[in-house]
Protein backbone atom coordinates (compact mmCIF):
# COMPACT_ATOMS: atom_id res chain seq x y z
CA UNK A 1 0.00 0.00 0.00
CA UNK A 2 2.77 2.38 0.96
CA UNK A 3 4.33 1.93 -2.44
CA UNK A 4 1.09 2.92 -4.13
CA UNK A 5 1.07 6.18 -2.21
CA UNK A 6 4.80 6.80 -2.38
CA UNK A 7 4.70 7.67 -6.07
CA UNK A 8 2.55 10.71 -5.22
CA UNK A 9 4.98 12.08 -2.59
CA UNK A 10 6.33 14.83 -4.79
CA UNK A 11 3.29 15.34 -7.00
CA UNK A 12 2.52 18.87 -8.14
CA UNK A 13 -0.89 20.19 -9.15
CA UNK A 14 -0.02 19.45 -12.76
CA UNK A 15 1.10 15.94 -11.91
CA UNK A 16 -2.22 15.20 -10.27
CA UNK A 17 -4.17 16.65 -13.15
CA UNK A 18 -2.26 14.45 -15.53
CA UNK A 19 -2.73 11.34 -13.42
CA UNK A 20 -5.22 8.89 -14.87
CA UNK A 21 -6.41 7.60 -11.50
CA UNK A 22 -6.84 11.09 -10.12
CA UNK A 23 -9.02 12.08 -13.02
CA UNK A 24 -11.07 8.93 -12.66
CA UNK A 25 -11.73 9.82 -9.06
CA UNK A 26 -12.90 13.29 -10.04
CA UNK A 27 -15.04 12.13 -12.92
CA UNK A 28 -16.43 8.98 -11.37
CA UNK A 29 -15.99 9.09 -7.62
CA UNK A 30 -16.93 6.02 -5.61
CA UNK A 31 -16.20 4.80 -2.10
CA UNK A 32 -13.02 2.93 -2.96
CA UNK A 33 -11.55 5.93 -4.78
CA UNK A 34 -12.62 8.34 -2.00
CA UNK A 35 -10.90 6.12 0.55
CA UNK A 36 -7.74 5.90 -1.49
CA UNK A 37 -7.29 9.63 -1.95
CA UNK A 38 -8.31 10.46 1.63
CA UNK A 39 -5.75 7.98 2.89
CA UNK A 40 -3.14 9.60 0.65
CA UNK A 41 -3.88 13.03 2.16
CA UNK A 42 -3.70 11.67 5.70
CA UNK A 43 -0.46 9.85 4.85
CA UNK A 44 1.12 12.85 3.16
CA UNK A 45 -0.66 15.95 4.51
CA UNK A 46 1.61 18.20 2.46
CA UNK A 47 -0.17 16.99 -0.71
CA UNK A 48 -3.52 18.29 0.47
CA UNK A 49 -3.03 21.72 -1.11
CA UNK A 50 -1.96 20.32 -4.45
CA UNK A 51 -4.81 17.87 -4.53
CA UNK A 52 -7.28 20.61 -3.71
CA UNK A 53 -5.73 22.84 -6.34
CA UNK A 54 -5.88 20.11 -8.96
CA UNK A 55 -9.51 19.46 -8.07
CA UNK A 56 -10.29 23.11 -8.34
CA UNK A 57 -8.69 23.34 -11.74
CA UNK A 58 -10.36 20.19 -13.02
CA UNK A 59 -13.70 21.43 -11.75
CA UNK A 60 -13.22 24.71 -13.57
CA UNK A 61 -12.46 22.93 -16.84
CA UNK A 62 -16.00 22.55 -17.95
CA UNK A 63 -18.02 23.82 -20.82
CA UNK A 64 -21.68 24.33 -20.94
CA UNK A 65 -22.88 22.39 -23.87
CA UNK A 66 -24.98 24.26 -26.30
CA UNK A 67 -27.90 22.10 -27.19
CA UNK A 68 -29.36 22.03 -30.62
CA UNK A 69 -33.13 22.16 -30.68
CA UNK A 70 -34.91 18.83 -30.94
CA UNK A 71 -36.31 19.93 -34.29
CA UNK A 72 -32.75 20.19 -35.61
CA UNK A 73 -31.87 16.74 -34.33
CA UNK A 74 -34.95 15.32 -35.99
CA UNK A 75 -34.31 17.16 -39.24
CA UNK A 76 -30.74 15.87 -39.48
CA UNK A 77 -31.79 12.32 -38.62
CA UNK A 78 -34.45 12.45 -41.31
CA UNK A 79 -31.83 13.65 -43.76
CA UNK A 80 -29.58 10.78 -42.75
CA UNK A 81 -32.21 8.10 -43.29
CA UNK A 82 -33.45 9.77 -46.49
CA UNK A 83 -30.01 9.86 -48.05
CA UNK A 84 -29.41 6.25 -47.19
CA UNK A 85 -32.75 5.28 -48.70
CA UNK A 86 -31.37 5.33 -52.28
CA UNK A 87 -28.92 2.73 -51.14
CA UNK A 88 -31.84 0.57 -50.04
CA UNK A 89 -33.36 1.21 -53.43
CA UNK A 90 -30.06 0.22 -54.97
CA UNK A 91 -30.10 -2.96 -52.91
CA UNK A 92 -33.57 -3.71 -54.22
CA UNK A 93 -32.37 -2.99 -57.75
CA UNK A 94 -29.38 -5.24 -57.18
CA UNK A 95 -31.69 -7.95 -55.98
CA UNK A 96 -33.89 -7.40 -59.04
CA UNK A 97 -30.79 -7.58 -61.21
CA UNK A 98 -29.89 -10.88 -59.62
CA UNK A 99 -33.35 -12.23 -60.34
CA UNK A 100 -33.13 -10.99 -63.88
CA UNK A 101 -29.75 -12.62 -64.30
CA UNK A 102 -31.10 -15.86 -62.87
CA UNK A 103 -34.10 -15.67 -65.19
CA UNK A 104 -31.81 -15.01 -68.14
CA UNK A 105 -29.66 -17.99 -67.24
CA UNK A 106 -32.75 -20.17 -66.98
CA UNK A 107 -34.03 -18.88 -70.28
CA UNK A 108 -30.75 -19.54 -72.04
CA UNK A 109 -30.40 -22.95 -70.43
CA UNK A 110 -34.00 -23.74 -71.40
CA UNK A 111 -33.40 -22.50 -74.92
CA UNK A 112 -30.29 -24.61 -75.27
CA UNK A 113 -32.13 -27.64 -73.97
CA UNK A 114 -34.95 -27.12 -76.44
CA UNK A 115 -32.42 -26.53 -79.19
CA UNK A 116 -30.52 -29.69 -78.26
CA UNK A 117 -33.81 -31.54 -78.10
CA UNK A 118 -34.86 -30.30 -81.51
CA UNK A 119 -31.42 -31.10 -82.83
CA UNK A 120 -31.43 -34.59 -81.45
CA UNK A 121 -35.04 -34.95 -82.42
CA UNK A 122 -35.38 -37.42 -85.24
CA UNK A 123 -37.55 -37.39 -88.24
CA UNK A 124 -39.25 -40.70 -88.94
CA UNK A 125 -40.83 -41.34 -92.29
CA UNK A 126 -42.85 -44.45 -92.82
CA UNK A 127 -44.55 -45.68 -95.92
CA UNK A 128 -47.70 -47.76 -95.96
CA UNK A 129 -48.24 -50.86 -98.08
CA UNK A 130 -48.40 -49.90 -101.69
CA UNK A 131 -47.09 -46.44 -100.94
CA UNK A 132 -43.81 -45.06 -102.24
CA UNK A 133 -42.14 -41.84 -101.27
CA UNK A 134 -39.32 -39.72 -102.58
CA UNK A 135 -37.62 -37.42 -100.10
CA UNK A 136 -34.65 -35.13 -99.89
CA UNK A 137 -32.44 -35.27 -96.83
CA UNK A 138 -31.10 -32.06 -95.20
CA UNK A 139 -27.80 -32.45 -97.08
CA UNK A 140 -29.60 -32.70 -100.42
CA UNK A 141 -29.27 -36.47 -100.81
CA UNK A 142 -32.19 -38.20 -102.49
CA UNK A 143 -33.98 -41.16 -100.98
CA UNK A 144 -36.76 -43.22 -102.49
CA UNK A 145 -38.57 -45.21 -99.87
CA UNK A 146 -40.42 -48.25 -101.09
CA UNK A 147 -43.70 -49.46 -99.61
CA UNK A 148 -43.81 -50.67 -96.01
CA UNK A 149 -40.46 -49.12 -95.15
CA UNK A 150 -39.16 -46.46 -92.85
CA UNK A 151 -36.27 -44.05 -92.57
CA UNK A 152 -35.13 -42.10 -89.57
CA UNK A 153 -32.72 -39.15 -89.60
CA UNK A 154 -31.76 -36.02 -87.69
CA UNK A 155 -33.13 -32.91 -89.35
CA UNK A 156 -30.42 -30.70 -87.79
CA UNK A 157 -27.23 -32.70 -87.72
CA UNK A 158 -24.39 -31.42 -85.58
CA UNK A 159 -21.65 -29.57 -87.32
CA UNK A 160 -18.74 -31.81 -88.32
CA UNK A 161 -20.78 -34.91 -87.55
CA UNK A 162 -21.40 -37.51 -90.22
CA UNK A 163 -24.80 -37.69 -91.87
CA UNK A 164 -26.74 -40.62 -90.47
CA UNK A 165 -29.92 -42.46 -91.39
CA UNK A 166 -31.59 -45.56 -89.99
CA UNK A 167 -33.45 -47.72 -92.45
CA UNK A 168 -35.74 -50.73 -92.42
CA UNK A 169 -37.50 -52.05 -95.49
CA UNK A 170 -36.31 -51.04 -98.91
CA UNK A 171 -34.74 -47.77 -99.95
CA UNK A 172 -32.75 -46.34 -102.80
CA UNK A 173 -30.17 -43.69 -102.05
CA UNK A 174 -28.43 -41.07 -104.11
CA UNK A 175 -26.00 -39.50 -101.71
CA UNK A 176 -24.51 -36.08 -102.37
CA UNK A 177 -20.73 -36.15 -102.36
CA UNK A 178 -19.60 -33.49 -99.93
CA UNK A 179 -15.90 -33.88 -100.46
CA UNK A 180 -15.38 -33.11 -104.11
CA UNK A 181 -12.06 -31.31 -103.83
CA UNK A 182 -10.11 -34.39 -102.90
CA UNK A 183 -9.05 -33.08 -99.53
CA UNK A 184 -8.75 -35.68 -96.79
CA UNK A 185 -12.10 -37.07 -95.82
CA UNK A 186 -13.51 -35.61 -92.61
CA UNK A 187 -16.34 -36.96 -90.45
CA UNK A 188 -18.88 -34.56 -91.95
CA UNK A 189 -18.18 -35.97 -95.43
CA UNK A 190 -19.40 -39.41 -94.45
CA UNK A 191 -22.90 -40.70 -94.91
CA UNK A 192 -23.90 -43.60 -92.69
CA UNK A 193 -26.80 -45.95 -93.17
CA UNK A 194 -27.55 -47.93 -90.06
CA UNK A 195 -29.19 -51.30 -90.45
CA UNK A 196 -29.86 -53.70 -87.67
CA UNK A 197 -26.76 -55.78 -88.33
CA UNK A 198 -24.65 -53.61 -90.51
CA UNK A 199 -23.53 -50.13 -91.16
CA UNK A 200 -23.11 -48.83 -94.69
CA UNK A 201 -20.69 -45.99 -95.05
CA UNK A 202 -20.47 -43.96 -98.23
CA UNK A 203 -19.20 -40.63 -99.43
CA UNK A 204 -21.27 -40.05 -102.51
CA UNK A 205 -22.93 -42.95 -104.28
CA UNK A 206 -26.11 -44.53 -105.50
CA UNK A 207 -27.23 -47.75 -103.89
CA UNK A 208 -30.18 -49.75 -102.73
CA UNK A 209 -30.85 -51.08 -99.30
CA UNK A 210 -33.22 -53.91 -98.55
CA UNK A 211 -33.85 -55.30 -95.10
CA UNK A 212 -36.86 -57.46 -95.83
CA UNK A 213 -37.32 -61.13 -95.00
CA UNK A 214 -34.72 -61.54 -92.28
CA UNK A 215 -31.91 -60.41 -94.50
CA UNK A 216 -30.03 -57.19 -95.07
CA UNK A 217 -28.99 -56.43 -98.60
CA UNK A 218 -26.96 -53.68 -100.21
CA UNK A 219 -26.64 -53.26 -103.94
CA UNK A 220 -24.21 -50.65 -105.19
CA UNK A 221 -25.09 -48.80 -108.34
CA UNK A 222 -22.36 -46.19 -108.61
CA UNK A 223 -19.42 -45.07 -106.46
CA UNK A 224 -17.98 -46.92 -103.55
CA UNK A 225 -19.47 -48.28 -100.36
CA UNK A 226 -17.98 -49.60 -97.16
CA UNK A 227 -20.06 -52.17 -95.34
CA UNK A 228 -19.30 -52.84 -91.73
CA UNK A 229 -20.99 -55.79 -90.08
CA UNK A 230 -21.50 -55.57 -86.37
CA UNK A 231 -20.31 -59.13 -85.97
CA UNK A 232 -17.30 -58.77 -88.28
CA UNK A 233 -14.42 -56.43 -87.63
CA UNK A 234 -13.16 -56.30 -91.22
CA UNK A 235 -15.10 -53.97 -93.50
CA UNK A 236 -16.25 -55.06 -96.97
CA UNK A 237 -15.91 -52.69 -99.88
CA UNK A 238 -18.42 -52.90 -102.69
CA UNK A 239 -17.95 -51.99 -106.33
CA UNK A 240 -20.76 -51.00 -108.64
CA UNK A 241 -22.91 -54.07 -109.40
CA UNK A 242 -21.92 -55.79 -106.20
CA UNK A 243 -24.65 -57.21 -104.05
CA UNK A 244 -24.05 -58.14 -100.47
CA UNK A 245 -26.56 -59.94 -98.37
CA UNK A 246 -26.53 -60.86 -94.71
CA UNK A 247 -28.85 -63.58 -93.61
CA UNK A 248 -30.05 -63.00 -90.10
CA UNK A 249 -31.14 -66.60 -89.54
CA UNK A 250 -27.91 -68.24 -90.59
CA UNK A 251 -25.76 -65.19 -89.73
CA UNK A 252 -24.03 -65.70 -93.05
CA UNK A 253 -22.86 -63.21 -95.58
CA UNK A 254 -23.14 -63.77 -99.29
CA UNK A 255 -21.87 -61.66 -102.15
CA UNK A 256 -23.06 -61.65 -105.73
CA UNK A 257 -22.87 -59.58 -108.86
CA UNK A 258 -26.12 -58.25 -110.23
CA UNK A 259 -27.49 -55.61 -112.50
CA UNK A 260 -27.91 -52.82 -109.97
CA UNK A 261 -30.47 -50.99 -112.07
CA UNK A 262 -32.80 -53.98 -111.78
CA UNK A 263 -32.67 -53.78 -108.02
CA UNK A 264 -34.03 -50.27 -108.05
CA UNK A 265 -36.63 -50.61 -110.77
CA UNK A 266 -39.31 -50.54 -108.12
CA UNK A 267 -38.72 -46.86 -107.70
CA UNK A 268 -39.88 -46.34 -111.24
CA UNK A 269 -42.92 -48.50 -110.48
CA UNK A 270 -41.60 -51.33 -112.55
CA UNK A 271 -41.11 -54.92 -111.59
CA UNK A 272 -38.64 -56.90 -113.60
CA UNK A 273 -38.82 -60.66 -113.55
CA UNK A 274 -36.17 -62.88 -115.06
CA UNK A 275 -37.03 -66.52 -114.65
CA UNK A 276 -38.38 -65.62 -111.25
CA UNK A 277 -40.33 -68.36 -109.47
CA UNK A 278 -43.80 -67.60 -108.11
CA UNK A 279 -42.46 -68.03 -104.57
CA UNK A 280 -40.37 -64.89 -105.02
CA UNK A 281 -43.25 -63.00 -106.56
CA UNK A 282 -45.39 -63.88 -103.55
CA UNK A 283 -42.76 -62.43 -101.21
CA UNK A 284 -42.81 -59.26 -103.26
CA UNK A 285 -46.58 -58.97 -103.02
CA UNK A 286 -46.59 -59.63 -99.31
CA UNK A 287 -43.77 -57.17 -98.58
CA UNK A 288 -45.00 -54.29 -100.70
CA UNK A 289 -48.74 -54.63 -100.63
CA UNK A 290 -49.32 -56.20 -97.25
CA UNK A 291 -51.46 -59.08 -98.38
CA UNK A 292 -51.17 -62.53 -97.00
CA UNK A 293 -50.81 -64.80 -100.04
CA UNK A 294 -52.13 -68.33 -100.18
CA UNK A 295 -51.45 -70.87 -102.86
CA UNK A 296 -53.94 -73.70 -103.27
CA UNK A 297 -51.54 -75.97 -105.09
CA UNK A 298 -47.89 -76.03 -104.04
CA UNK A 299 -46.85 -77.10 -107.56
CA UNK A 300 -47.66 -73.57 -108.67
CA UNK A 301 -44.79 -72.23 -106.62
CA UNK A 302 -42.19 -73.48 -109.06
CA UNK A 303 -43.73 -71.71 -112.04
CA UNK A 304 -41.44 -68.96 -113.28
CA UNK A 305 -41.99 -65.55 -114.69
CA UNK A 306 -40.11 -63.26 -117.09
CA UNK A 307 -40.57 -59.68 -118.25
CA UNK A 308 -41.25 -56.29 -116.80
CA UNK A 309 -44.53 -55.29 -115.26
CA UNK A 310 -45.80 -51.95 -114.06
CA UNK A 311 -46.63 -51.80 -110.41
CA UNK A 312 -48.62 -48.58 -110.73
CA UNK A 313 -51.94 -50.29 -110.44
CA UNK A 314 -52.56 -53.39 -108.38
CA UNK A 315 -55.49 -54.55 -110.50
CA UNK A 316 -53.42 -54.40 -113.67
CA UNK A 317 -50.49 -56.03 -111.97
CA UNK A 318 -52.53 -58.94 -110.70
CA UNK A 319 -54.25 -59.32 -114.07
CA UNK A 320 -50.86 -59.45 -115.79
CA UNK A 321 -49.63 -62.02 -113.31
CA UNK A 322 -52.72 -64.16 -113.91
CA UNK A 323 -52.04 -64.12 -117.63
CA UNK A 324 -48.34 -64.68 -117.47
CA UNK A 325 -48.47 -67.49 -114.90
CA UNK A 326 -51.75 -68.91 -116.07
CA UNK A 327 -53.27 -68.82 -112.61
CA UNK A 328 -56.34 -67.34 -111.01
CA UNK A 329 -55.92 -64.61 -108.43
CA UNK A 330 -58.76 -63.85 -106.10
CA UNK A 331 -58.45 -60.97 -103.74
CA UNK A 332 -60.25 -60.33 -100.50
CA UNK A 333 -59.59 -57.59 -97.94
CA UNK A 334 -56.36 -58.98 -96.54
CA UNK A 335 -55.60 -62.10 -98.52
CA UNK A 336 -54.85 -63.13 -102.04
CA UNK A 337 -55.48 -66.63 -103.15
CA UNK A 338 -53.64 -68.03 -106.13
CA UNK A 339 -55.16 -71.11 -107.69
CA UNK A 340 -55.14 -73.04 -110.92
Amino acid sequence: MVNLYAKYYQYTISDFLLDEDFLLWIRQPDEARDNFWHTLVTTYPHLADNIAGARKLAAALQVQKTQAPNATKQRIWNAVTASVAPSAKLRRMKRAAWWMAAAAVLLIAGGLTVFQFLRSNEVLIRTAYGEKRTLTLPDGSQVVLNANSQIKYKPRPKKNAPREVWVTGEAWFNVVHKNKTGTPVVAADRFLVHLQNMQVEVLGTTFTINTRRNQEQVVLQTGKVKVQLKTRPAPIYLLPGDLIRFNKDSQTLSKAITNPADCSLWKENRLKFDNTPLSEVIKLIEDNYGYSVQVTDSSLLSRTLGGTLSSNDQQILFKALENMLDVRITKTDQTITISK
Binding site: A52, A59, Q62, T72, W77
Partner: protein, 211 residues
Protein backbone atom coordinates in the same frame (compact mmCIF):
# COMPACT_ATOMS: atom_id res chain seq x y z
CA UNK B 1 -18.50 3.27 -11.74
CA UNK B 2 -21.02 0.47 -11.99
CA UNK B 3 -23.50 2.70 -13.69
CA UNK B 4 -20.81 3.69 -16.08
CA UNK B 5 -19.93 0.11 -16.87
CA UNK B 6 -23.55 -0.81 -17.42
CA UNK B 7 -23.86 2.11 -19.73
CA UNK B 8 -20.87 0.84 -21.67
CA UNK B 9 -22.35 -2.61 -21.99
CA UNK B 10 -25.68 -1.12 -23.05
CA UNK B 11 -23.93 0.95 -25.68
CA UNK B 12 -22.03 -2.01 -27.03
CA UNK B 13 -25.27 -3.92 -27.34
CA UNK B 14 -26.77 -1.05 -29.31
CA UNK B 15 -23.69 -0.86 -31.49
CA UNK B 16 -23.70 -4.58 -32.21
CA UNK B 17 -27.43 -4.50 -32.96
CA UNK B 18 -26.83 -1.67 -35.39
CA UNK B 19 -23.99 -3.54 -37.07
CA UNK B 20 -26.33 -6.47 -37.52
CA UNK B 21 -28.83 -4.27 -39.33
CA UNK B 22 -30.94 -2.55 -36.66
CA UNK B 23 -31.31 1.10 -37.66
CA UNK B 24 -33.28 1.88 -34.51
CA UNK B 25 -30.15 1.25 -32.43
CA UNK B 26 -28.22 3.81 -34.40
CA UNK B 27 -30.96 6.34 -33.84
CA UNK B 28 -30.64 5.84 -30.08
CA UNK B 29 -26.89 6.34 -30.34
CA UNK B 30 -27.48 9.39 -32.52
CA UNK B 31 -29.81 11.01 -30.03
CA UNK B 32 -27.49 10.22 -27.14
CA UNK B 33 -24.37 11.72 -28.68
CA UNK B 34 -25.77 14.47 -30.83
CA UNK B 35 -25.08 17.29 -28.36
CA UNK B 36 -21.53 16.23 -27.63
CA UNK B 37 -20.66 15.85 -31.29
CA UNK B 38 -22.40 19.11 -32.06
CA UNK B 39 -20.34 20.96 -29.47
CA UNK B 40 -17.09 19.39 -30.49
CA UNK B 41 -17.66 19.94 -34.21
CA UNK B 42 -18.61 23.53 -33.69
CA UNK B 43 -15.41 24.20 -31.79
CA UNK B 44 -13.57 23.37 -34.97
CA UNK B 45 -15.87 24.74 -37.60
CA UNK B 46 -17.48 27.64 -35.74
CA UNK B 47 -20.32 27.21 -38.20
CA UNK B 48 -23.57 25.59 -37.15
CA UNK B 49 -24.68 24.45 -40.58
CA UNK B 50 -21.28 22.93 -41.36
CA UNK B 51 -21.36 21.15 -38.02
CA UNK B 52 -24.82 19.81 -38.79
CA UNK B 53 -23.60 18.65 -42.18
CA UNK B 54 -20.69 16.88 -40.51
CA UNK B 55 -22.99 15.02 -38.13
CA UNK B 56 -25.22 14.08 -41.05
CA UNK B 57 -22.21 12.84 -43.03
CA UNK B 58 -20.98 10.82 -40.05
CA UNK B 59 -24.23 8.91 -39.61
CA UNK B 60 -24.76 8.42 -43.33
CA UNK B 61 -21.27 6.96 -43.46
CA UNK B 62 -22.04 4.66 -40.54
CA UNK B 63 -25.21 3.42 -42.22
CA UNK B 64 -23.47 2.86 -45.53
CA UNK B 65 -20.41 1.12 -44.14
CA UNK B 66 -22.33 -0.86 -41.56
CA UNK B 67 -20.98 -4.20 -42.79
CA UNK B 68 -17.39 -3.03 -42.40
CA UNK B 69 -17.73 -1.54 -38.93
CA UNK B 70 -15.82 -3.29 -36.20
CA UNK B 71 -16.90 -3.98 -32.65
CA UNK B 72 -15.84 -1.30 -30.22
CA UNK B 73 -15.45 -1.03 -26.49
CA UNK B 74 -16.31 2.67 -26.63
CA UNK B 75 -18.96 3.90 -28.98
CA UNK B 76 -18.23 7.48 -28.00
CA UNK B 77 -14.60 7.11 -28.95
CA UNK B 78 -15.55 5.46 -32.24
CA UNK B 79 -17.94 8.28 -33.06
CA UNK B 80 -15.54 11.06 -32.10
CA UNK B 81 -12.69 9.58 -34.03
CA UNK B 82 -14.72 9.19 -37.22
CA UNK B 83 -16.38 12.56 -36.66
CA UNK B 84 -13.06 14.34 -36.19
CA UNK B 85 -11.78 13.37 -39.62
CA UNK B 86 -15.05 14.45 -41.24
CA UNK B 87 -14.91 17.78 -39.41
CA UNK B 88 -11.28 18.38 -40.39
CA UNK B 89 -12.14 17.62 -44.03
CA UNK B 90 -14.93 20.17 -43.83
CA UNK B 91 -12.49 22.59 -42.30
CA UNK B 92 -10.06 22.10 -45.15
CA UNK B 93 -12.75 22.66 -47.73
CA UNK B 94 -13.67 25.78 -45.80
CA UNK B 95 -10.30 26.94 -47.13
CA UNK B 96 -8.60 27.04 -43.83
CA UNK B 97 -5.10 25.78 -43.66
CA UNK B 98 -4.44 23.21 -40.98
CA UNK B 99 -4.92 24.29 -37.41
CA UNK B 100 -1.20 24.02 -36.70
CA UNK B 101 -0.57 27.07 -38.87
CA UNK B 102 -0.34 30.55 -37.46
CA UNK B 103 -3.53 31.43 -39.27
CA UNK B 104 -5.27 28.67 -37.42
CA UNK B 105 -4.50 30.08 -34.03
CA UNK B 106 -8.07 30.99 -33.42
CA UNK B 107 -9.27 27.47 -34.08
CA UNK B 108 -10.79 25.27 -31.43
CA UNK B 109 -11.48 28.17 -29.15
CA UNK B 110 -13.84 27.53 -26.29
CA UNK B 111 -15.00 29.42 -23.26
CA UNK B 112 -15.15 27.67 -19.94
CA UNK B 113 -18.51 28.02 -18.30
CA UNK B 114 -20.40 26.34 -15.53
CA UNK B 115 -22.29 23.29 -16.61
CA UNK B 116 -26.03 23.45 -16.64
CA UNK B 117 -27.67 23.57 -13.19
CA UNK B 118 -24.30 24.19 -11.59
CA UNK B 119 -24.05 27.31 -9.53
CA UNK B 120 -20.48 28.44 -9.02
CA UNK B 121 -19.12 30.80 -6.47
CA UNK B 122 -17.75 34.11 -7.69
CA UNK B 123 -14.27 32.86 -7.01
CA UNK B 124 -14.79 29.82 -9.21
CA UNK B 125 -16.31 31.87 -11.96
CA UNK B 126 -13.37 34.21 -11.91
CA UNK B 127 -11.04 31.22 -12.19
CA UNK B 128 -12.96 30.04 -15.23
CA UNK B 129 -12.63 33.47 -16.84
CA UNK B 130 -8.90 33.53 -16.26
CA UNK B 131 -8.54 29.97 -17.51
CA UNK B 132 -10.45 30.86 -20.64
CA UNK B 133 -7.95 33.62 -21.38
CA UNK B 134 -5.09 31.24 -20.60
CA UNK B 135 -6.57 28.66 -22.99
CA UNK B 136 -6.57 31.24 -25.74
CA UNK B 137 -2.85 31.55 -25.34
CA UNK B 138 -2.38 27.81 -25.94
CA UNK B 139 -2.07 26.20 -29.36
CA UNK B 140 -5.25 24.80 -30.92
CA UNK B 141 -3.75 21.36 -30.51
CA UNK B 142 -3.26 21.87 -26.80
CA UNK B 143 -6.75 23.25 -26.48
CA UNK B 144 -8.16 20.23 -28.29
CA UNK B 145 -6.20 17.84 -26.10
CA UNK B 146 -7.49 19.58 -22.96
CA UNK B 147 -11.00 19.47 -24.32
CA UNK B 148 -10.89 15.78 -25.22
CA UNK B 149 -9.21 14.77 -21.98
CA UNK B 150 -10.91 16.92 -19.34
CA UNK B 151 -14.19 17.84 -20.86
CA UNK B 152 -15.00 14.74 -22.93
CA UNK B 153 -13.09 12.43 -20.60
CA UNK B 154 -11.14 10.38 -23.16
CA UNK B 155 -8.07 8.50 -21.93
CA UNK B 156 -4.55 9.46 -22.94
CA UNK B 157 -4.45 6.58 -25.36
CA UNK B 158 -7.70 7.60 -26.96
CA UNK B 159 -6.65 11.25 -27.25
CA UNK B 160 -3.37 10.14 -28.76
CA UNK B 161 -5.11 7.90 -31.33
CA UNK B 162 -7.55 10.60 -32.25
CA UNK B 163 -4.98 13.32 -32.64
CA UNK B 164 -2.48 11.10 -34.38
CA UNK B 165 0.08 11.41 -31.61
CA UNK B 166 2.00 8.97 -29.46
CA UNK B 167 0.76 8.55 -25.89
CA UNK B 168 4.01 10.09 -24.71
CA UNK B 169 3.61 13.02 -27.08
CA UNK B 170 0.09 13.56 -25.83
CA UNK B 171 1.31 13.55 -22.27
CA UNK B 172 3.95 16.18 -23.06
CA UNK B 173 1.51 18.32 -25.00
CA UNK B 174 -0.93 18.23 -22.14
CA UNK B 175 1.65 18.71 -19.40
CA UNK B 176 2.72 22.00 -20.96
CA UNK B 177 -0.90 23.11 -21.26
CA UNK B 178 -1.71 22.16 -17.69
CA UNK B 179 1.37 23.98 -16.42
CA UNK B 180 0.17 27.12 -18.13
CA UNK B 181 -3.36 26.75 -16.78
CA UNK B 182 -2.16 25.95 -13.30
CA UNK B 183 -0.62 29.40 -13.08
CA UNK B 184 -4.12 30.83 -12.99
CA UNK B 185 -4.72 29.16 -9.65
CA UNK B 186 -2.18 31.46 -8.09
CA UNK B 187 -4.49 34.39 -8.64
CA UNK B 188 -6.78 33.01 -5.99
CA UNK B 189 -5.93 32.98 -2.35
CA UNK B 190 -7.79 29.75 -1.78
CA UNK B 191 -4.77 27.79 -0.56
CA UNK B 192 -3.89 30.41 1.96
CA UNK B 193 -7.41 30.73 3.23
CA UNK B 194 -8.04 27.05 3.60
CA UNK B 195 -6.01 25.00 6.03
CA UNK B 196 -5.40 21.41 5.23
CA UNK B 197 -7.78 20.33 8.01
CA UNK B 198 -10.86 21.35 6.09
CA UNK B 199 -9.67 20.00 2.75
CA UNK B 200 -11.11 16.55 3.22
CA UNK B 201 -14.69 17.64 4.05
CA UNK B 202 -14.36 20.05 1.15
CA UNK B 203 -13.38 17.24 -1.17
CA UNK B 204 -16.40 15.28 -0.06
CA UNK B 205 -18.52 18.33 -0.63
CA UNK B 206 -17.23 18.69 -4.15
CA UNK B 207 -17.62 15.04 -4.85
CA UNK B 208 -21.36 15.46 -4.61
CA UNK B 209 -21.30 17.91 -7.47
CA UNK B 210 -18.89 15.95 -9.55
CA UNK B 211 -20.90 12.80 -9.54
Amino acid sequence: MHNNQNEHIEEQKLWDAFRKGDDKSLEIIYRHYFDELYNYGNKWLNDISLTEDSIQDLFIKLLRTRQNLSATTSVKYYLFRAFRSIVLDKLKSKNKTGYIDEAGKTLFVFDLSPEKNMILKEEERSLQRRLTIALDALTPRQREAIFLRYIEGFSYDEVAEMMDLTTKGTYKLMARAIDALKEQLKGTAWHLLMPSGIIIPLIKYFSKFMG
